[in-house]
């Protein structure tokens, strides 16, 4: 896909997951035992054969920078092209914090203009799915579209998720004919996936026009306004979509990964999900381990009981500990006879002997990074 430049807008600081996003952006939030949320958006591009990817970051970008490094693990540390990370204030075009997606994109317009590609694929990170974009680009070109946006039918999603999203109406030809932004009671059937393809020159023109009017939101100030004047097409995505825009959604979608079909679709079908390689040993199960329905990363040492849970790298579960319906992030430890249920432990948390933490499925308890309880 030499024609497609990838851009990931990871400056989405309107998405907050309680303590989990206190010191990291949503893009850097750990998910699925060994990944970060951005791994999906980035791997989708790499698996589509996209060779140049720019990532726009905003506040708390440190953990994201550490995670991405020079892009080796995505094979994007190339001599020409590869991975470009834009910290705020980085581009000489930028004038401070981004008010919205238009500011964010505009700040890297020089990078986009200089690229060799004709089209730009822009994606966010908090919509998690695995997909390759060959067909979308073909669809875009065949339709002679100005913009092609990805959408999925909303069925199966909860009202919570609509509130922070855009719903669209698509006619029989695939043209997007109407949109509603963050509705409480949506009239339309399709959720916009924060991902679109656009010609480089058109993007340049639209961003400039929008900025010159003092506006800053790509969906509200560009897509919605231009529905009739531009040919905006919708590409229907039929796969699995996780929209991680709240702590509940985060919890629920992690638990989804215990379903083998969903794992198959996310991790295998569209190619591997690349992530930072940590060189950790395989997981070790002791004589006392009792593990049921869990996904477990390398480096775990399990001497206790774990059920319906997600264990990240290097987690230690001591003898007699009982863990149920929980997410335990990297290097956390649950000591002897502690009981956890419906809990999210951030990284490097220590739960001392015989402590209990019980949350509810619709209100999981969240423990901040490094806490000792």
């Amino acid at each position: 896909m030499k024609e497609l430049l990838g851009v990931i807008d990871a400056s989405e600081n309107h998405i907050q997951l309680k303590e989990i996003t206190k010191n990291r952006s949503i893009a850097a939030v750990p998910i699925g035992s060994r990944y970060r949320i951005i791994d999906f958006a980035l791997s989708n591009m790499v698996n589509s054969g996209i060779q140049d990817v720019g990532i726009i970051t905003q506040n708390h970008y440190n953990s994201l920078l550490t995670h991405l490094g020079p892009g080796k693990d995505w094979d994007l540390n190339r001599k020409r092209g590869g991975l470009f990370i834009f910290p705020p204030y980085g581009g000489s075009d930028s004038q401070g914090w981004y008010r919205g997606s238009v500011d964010a994109l505009h700040s890297i317009m020089r990078f986009i203009r200089r690229s060799e590609q004709e089209y730009v694929l822009v994606s966010g990170t908090y919509m998690v799915f695995s997909f390759t974009y060959h067909d979308v680009l073909k669809y875009h070109i065949d339709n002679e579209a100005d913009i092609t946006i990805l959408y999925k039918e909303k069925k199966g999603m909860t009202p919570d998720e609509f509130k922070q999203n855009t719903l669209i109406k698509v006619n029989d030809c695939g043209r997007v004919v109407d949109m509603e932004i963050n509705p409480s009671l949506p009239r339309f059937n399709n959720i916009y996936m924060n991902t679109f393809i656009i010609g480089k020159d058109l993007l340049d023109y639209l961003l400039d026009e929008c900025q010159s009017r003092g506006e800053s939101d790509f969906v509200k100030d560009i897509l919605l306004r231009k529905l009739s004047s531009l040919k905006i097409y919708g590409y229907k995505f039929n796969g699995y979509l996780a929209c991680i825009n709240s702590i509940n959604a985060y919890y629920r979608y992690n638990m989804d990964l215990l379903n083998s079909d969903i794992r198959e679709e996310l991790f295998i079908k569209s190619g591997p999900v690349h992530t930072r390689v940590m060189d950790v040993v395989p997981a070790m199960y002791s004589e006392n381990a009792c593990v049921k329905n869990c996904i477990v990363a390398d480096g775990c040492i399990i001497d206790g009981n774990v059920e319906n849970s997600i264990l990240f790298r290097g987690v230690k579960i001591y003898k007699g500990a009982k863990i149920k319906n929980s997410i335990i992030m990297q290097d956390s430890e649950v000591h002897e006879n502690a009981i956890l249920e419906n809990v999210i432990l951030d990284k490097e948390v220590i739960i001392r002997r015989s402590k209990n933490l019980i949350g509810q499925e619709i209100y999981p308890v969240v423990i901040s990074k490094g806490a000792v309880i």
Binding site: R34, F267, V273, D279, P282, Y285, A289, N293, V296
Partner: protein, 415 residues
Amino acid sequence: MSKKECIAMLLAGGQGNRLGLLTKNLAKPAVPFGGKYRIIDFTLSNCTNSGIDTVGVLTQYRPLKLNSYIGNGQPWDLDRLDGGVYVLPPYMKGKVGEWYKGTANAISQNIEFIEQFNPKYILVLSGDHIYKMDYSKMIEYHREKHADATIAVIETKLEDANRFGIMNTDKDNRIYEFEEKPKNPKSNKASMGIYVFNWNTLKNYLIADDKNAKSEHDFGKNIIPQMLSNGMVIYAYKFKGYWKDVGTLQSLYQSNMDLLEFPPIFDLYDPTWKIYGRNQGLPPHYIAPSADVKRAIVSEGSSIYGTVRHSIISTGVFIDKSSIIKNSIIMPYARIGKNTLIEDSIIAEKVTIGNNCTIGRRPDGKARQIELTLIGENAKIPDSTVVEKGMEIDSVMLQDIYDLYQNDAKEAKAL
């Protein structure tokens, strides 16, 4: 290229006959180990962790997978601008080419390669040992002793000493005699096959040895004895810690099982001495509600629906419901069907085993030395197959068995 203090030469040429079918299509150092590693990972990681950034891997037997596995050396941080890891096969000079004739000859044929880096010391390593060792300390010892050569030794039980090359040393650990598998060992210091040499000294010995038609061109049998008889200063460097030569199926199996000891005999969890390997980019492993996993190592990308006891489950393995894996090593990407029993076995890479099979069942009530069963790479074992204890089977044999069966069937019909 700039001058290097020390470069390592890793002998990875051996065919590894004693690993049986495992090395039929694979160089020994590329054999999987410990769930997600290959044997060579340990030596390469030791090099990186010891600050040695230039490693020549000497290989002539089926190096393809090894070559691809090593690739650009990035997983071991050996993708260096000046140095890094090089796979060194035999090559043609002028009209003739010759294969490596022994460990010393393999180094000797690569004098030109080594000279490029103009090293002061050269570290000679084997590609089939499992251990963690800081070579920089051994080199430091070699330097302090002003030695011409230093040999790493491990203290064995005296009764085992007759299976090793034994170093007889004075009080200061200077070696005055080397005995290959002595009947009446005078010492328990066994050579680990790890040598540090002053390169200029070694080079002369290699050149001389090459001209000696009677020599087997082997470090232990020829070079070291010759150096000793010339009065060269050779020291023994005592190594303490876990070390295992995994040159036989039995020792490979045992060394894998050692990883399951708790507290560990051989600890891989030390963050200051990571073992690096090529990552496969697989998702985390999944333990199903029907699974029962105890005393096991389980690697990324596997899915377990059955029972696992005291076993190593490697990357990408699938174990279906109601199956039981006991005291076994399941190598990468093997698939085990339903209701199958596997005991005391090594299941090689990409093997498929059907439903209702029994592989290597241990006779009831008899506790004796484990007799291993081995299913070779890519073999497809049909449903309801019984593989008896101690057998080694690969896909070609399976075809023979099948043909035989067909013949029998034909003949039966003809009759």
